[in-house]
Subunit: 183 residues, 2 copies
Amino acid sequence: MHLAAWCKDNFMTMKPRDRTDDSLIALRRILRATELYARDLAHAVGLTPAQLRVLQIVDERGSVTPKALASQMGVSQATVTALVDKLVAQRLVERVQSESDRRQTNVVATPQGHGRLEDAPDALQQRYVRAFAKLADWEQAQLVSSLERVADMMDAQKLDAAPVLTTGDIKGGRKGSHDLQEN
Amino acid sequence: MHLAAWCKDNFMTMKPRDRTDDSLIALRRILRATELYARDLAHAVGLTPAQLRVLQIVDERGSVTPKALASQMGVSQATVTALVDKLVAQRLVERVQSESDRRQTNVVATPQGHGRLEDAPDALQQRYVRAFAKLADWEQAQLVSSLERVADMMDAQKLDAAPVLTTGDIKGGRKGSHDLQEN
DNA sequence: CATGTCTTCTTTGGTAAGCTAAGTATTAGG
DNA sequence: CCTAATACTTAGCTTACCAAAGAAGACATG
């Protein structure tokens, strides 16, 4: 491409395509970093990533039903049962029957479960938080607003996208296993 | 919390702690949306998320060794072997021996593999892209810069974080399985 | 009270992803 | 030629996940 053309594209018309790519690349880097960290972190705590997520949610909310866990995590109840089993085996959480509705089970963290999280609070966050704290006030504000905007764009998508994507039925016979998570 | 106190915290002192939390929440929402989409998308293409990632990388780079795939994806070579096997079984990629070094295998996409990607280009991106394109010019610029900043904060972290996290050795005898990915 | 229907959770049986450890070739260096 | 390193695969195991089928409480309605 000629230099003149390049200048025109970048300074005059400024195609948004380029920016879109940039944003996607940055997003992928974030995703990737988070994913890799989640593995290391969970390993450091002596749990698997999925188990850790359960423990975090349970600890944060005090008491959760498997149903709620499943919908918050976007997995099936059967999966939650399996994960909770593992945590129960390690005495990190307990199941207690609900008294109002005895079909329900409440999952609660034991003192040990709580302690486990204290020992190694989310390392990725710890480190990210440190960098974030160093930023100037206006930068933090801008970052938050940008991130929320991106999150909104994706969440909003989900609503009208789900039905569309679910037409993936055509090659595999699945029926929207994510329908649950509209709280 | 009393209303007065709330006002004080939010309008007067404006603790950065709140902002950090907000940014983390937004980040989690992004992560979550992406994860759920990856599943739906892969399913729509008739592949699993991991298989799709392999196919995408192979298609994008034309020809990749399992070693490179493993390091780019952050998984072990054995895992790559298994994933490539699946794709080979579906005739979406092929293995070809390298001529310069016959220990190496190059993975390349078949026309069908390439076609499969054309059929369903990244749906999450498609949708996100559409929303992104609707934004005003300055908003796009700000978003990109914010995302890149976050990505930088996380990537930079990785370098000095890895050794720290690897002390998770204390409970399980692992030796940095991610050491590979510094290209 | 009985009966049928929901809901909530667990069980079962199966697939995929991921790891480590132990091969098999192939190249590179004495 | 022999040894060491590299690149990949195989084998065996664990975890995550799902769908389908069960079990048991909740609830409405006859």
